[in-house]
Each structure stands twice: as structure tokens, then as C-alpha cells.
Amino acid sequence: MLEGVESGIPATADNEKIYGGVATAERPGGTQPKLCIRHVSKSFKSVNGSAYVLEDINLEIREGEFVCIVGPSGCGKTTLLNIVAGLEKADSGEVWSNGHKVNGAGTDRVVIFQEAALFPWLNVVKNVEFGLKLKGINAKQRRETAIQYLKMVHLSKFQKAHIHELSGGMKQRVAIARALAMNPEMLLMDEPFSALDAQTRWILHFELQNIWLKTKKTIMFVTHNIREAVCLADRIVMLSTTPGRVKKEFQIELPRPRDDNDINVAEYSTKIMKELKSEITKVMQCEMDADSCVECDIKCTSVIPEKIDMGGGI
């Protein structure tokens, strides 16, 4: 009944290559990955030294692929997405987007944040036009493009509305239109629907899938909601926690558009959830009784002297 093939291969360098080979065979034309994350490590300075948040992340995303990144809270999903976006710098390793090395933010990778991040001093259509204006596109043309994408998210009626007059779901749709209007190579989405209620999220899952089917954008979508990931993704990448590593990958091969409440989606979610549980338990232990659980403490802070080069092999 379940068509999906689970490929629970730990992401050591070798296995990843095998995996990459499988992936390219599946989709002809995807010889060069759209996004290439190579040996990315990142640590943050904390009171007790510098704790690794991401350690040797390797990931490839093919053109037109919809990849969801899941993992327990605090495992570094947002950090990874920010590094890909160029909003944060990795300590070591590199990110290649469309054959170019990522070195700062760029309009080929537009981010959609958890809060819509729309500009309240502009109305809806001017928000959508924002990036086009910066690109130097003339007023008439950018208005046309903006309306076109507002239509895609079914909000063209609200083009003159002010941001504070929109609901949370509408704001996120405007943010999606604003990102799509830039015609980026990739969309990077960081839990864009997590602040919304279940019904709105359900609608937006449909809309996003339809948009994706229409535009064939490459999407990297961070979420902690497994069901959301199963509903949306071609492939789910699960990160482990402290330090964040690619723990497992799952190929989801259900017909689209998928429904959150579909039995197959539910079954898949349960299966992946089981995998995640062990990670979550680990986090819970760390966060809840970090004071009492000494053994866990050692594991979870994973304080590494800065001199040791963890990003080796580059």
C-alpha cells in the first residue's frame, strides 16, 4: 500500500554518494543539483565554550525537488536554512547554489519566514513588487507581475489592502507571492505555516502544492510537523540533534496534490514519527532535566574545544 521507499541511510560521505546516484537515476536531467551543501558545520559561542549546532551537513537538492527538513526543536534547522540563504555564515564547509558558491544573501534564494515579514508601510501589491523594484523593473511591468502572482495565491482582490488588515494566512500567501514574483531559483521556507490554525494550514498545503506543480520551483522547507512534511515533500531529510547531522532521509512517493488527512499521509507520518521520537526524547531529557541528568548533559552540550578541526575533509 505504501509506495514510498524508505532510504534510511546514515549520511556518511559514502552513503550519500550512493543515495545521490539513486536520486539522479530517478529524475533524468537532474545531473547537476540545484543546491549543494558540503560539509557545513556551525557552532555558536555559549557560556560553556562553543557548542556545535550543525556538524558536517551534506545535502543535495535537485532542480524542481521539494525537500522538507525535519528534526526536533533546536537541532539547527533554521540555522541551516539561514546558511543556505546566506544570512548566516557557516564555520566551515560550503553551499553551492545553481553552480555558484553562496557568499551572502542573493535573489536566487528567497526566504519565506515563519512570520510573513511583510512591510507594513506598503500595501499588498507594493509588497509583492518590492524585490522587482530593487531589480530596476519598470512600474508597469512590475505591477503586472505582482498581480499575476497575487492571482496565483487568490489575493488579487486585496491588492490595495494594508498589511494590518490581513489575516495570518493571507499574510503568508502574500509572502509567497512576493517570493515567487522574484522568480528565484529556490524558495527557502522556514516553518511558514506553523503559526496558523489547522484549517488555514490545510488550505495553504493545497495551494503550495499547486503552485509548486505549476512553477516547478526547487523548495527547501523547514518544519517540525511530520505530517506537513509528508504532505508536501518529495523527500524528507531528518536532522538529529546536538549536534545536528543528517540522520535519515525518506523518499515520499504519494500522488499529488496530497491531503493532510489522507490515510497514506497519516500512515507515513506515524512511521517517520517513530524515528523522530528517539531524537525528541533526547532533547526532552536535555532541556527538561539538564541539571539532574549528568550523563545526558555531557552528551547534549557536546562542548568541543575550538582547536580541534571538526570540519576536516574539505
Binding site: 544573501a105 515579514a117 507594513p120 530593487l134
Partner: protein
Amino acid sequence: MRNVAKRVVFFLMLIGVWELVYLCGIWPEYVLPSPVSVGKTLVGGFQNRTLLIGIGISMKRIAIGYGISIGIGIFLGIVIARFRILEDTLGALISGLQTLPTICWLPLALLWFGLNDRAIIFLVIMGAVLSIAIATDSGVKNVPSLYIRAAKTMGAKGWRLYLEVIIPAALPHIIIGMKQGWSFAWRSLMAGELLIVCLGLGHLMMIGRELNDMSQVIAVMIVIIIIGIVVDRLFFVKVEKRIRERWGLTKS
């Protein structure tokens, strides 16, 4: 509506008491004129256009001075927020100067510019510019980083990032500084016009004093108060409310 009614009744009563005290005849006309003669002076001043010209000249001065303050103030605020070294030096200087009453700039203005318009405009600028600079500095520092990150991924950088994102995002702070700056500017304009005799509303008051025409003095005072109220209540309070609402800062 009830508030308006309360106020109208209050002011009518105030005028009534004033008229009563006047009728008692304790003070001579040149110390306490009747409300009626003040009213006549007001109407007469508008009819022979002396008051209108006075208002026009004062408003022109404040428009120039205040306009320049907005430009300089926002620029200073941004560079202070942007460069750490300027924050520690120029920022400290500006906070220090802020404690200095604007009228203390008068001697300096007289020596630099002489007894003329430019000295008055200088006073107006000194009155408003510091408040606007300080407010802009704190506004820029408080811009949600989310806006900046979103703008960056859409290709905003350099001065366009400031023009299109940071300044508008800081507007709720900047408008507070502009409001405060306005009231300082208005005060220093009047101080300047009273002391540097060259037309304007302040000058009209001084003429009233020289002619022992108390009703003219009071009439001009009323005009000054009304302009102050109109700009503060009808303009700034409204604009500030509108901005806070749009920027989603009002609690509903």
C-alpha cells in the same frame, strides 16, 4: 462629543469669569482688557491682515527651519546608529546638547548671523534637530531584524536598504521625535521672534507691548496657542496614531 461639549462649556465659563473680573474694574484696561476687546482685536487683525501676514511669516520660518531639521536629524540619527564610533562620540555630544535650552543658542546665532531671519531659522533648527536625531537613532536600532533579513534576500543593500526599509520601519520612532522637535521648534521660533525684532507673530506681540495694547498681546497669544494645538493634536497625534495602527503596534 461629550468631551467637546465639556470643553466648550469650560471655555465659555472661563470667558465669563474673565468678563466679570473685568467689569469689577480692579485693573485698568492696559493690564486686563475685556474679552470683547481681545475678540475685536483678533477680528480686526485678520481684517487688516496684520495677523495673517504675521502668521504667514512665522509659518514660513518654521517650515524652512523644521524642514532642514528633519533632513539633518534623520541623517545624523542614521549615521549614529550605523557607526559605533559616531555613537560613542557624536551621540554623546547630541545627548549633552539636548539638555541645553534652545534659547541659549541665541547669543551665538546673533554673532554668526546678525539680527535677521537666518538667526531665527538657526534657532528653530537647533530646537528640533536633536530630538529628531535621537529618535531616529533609537528607531533605527529597534528595526526588527526580520524586515532587514527579508529585504536582504530580495536584494536590498546599501542606501536603498536604508531608504526603502530601515527608515520606513523606524518611522514610528521618528514621528515621536518629530513631534517633540516640532514643539521645541515652535517655542524657539517664538523666543527668537520676540528677541530678534523682525516681523512674525512674536514681533506682533512686542508691538502690542510697546503700544501698551494688552488686547493685541493676548490676541497674538491666542493665535500662537491655537496653531500649537492644531499642529500637535490635529496633525501629529493623528499621524502617529495612523502609523502605529498600520505598523501593527497598537494593541487591539
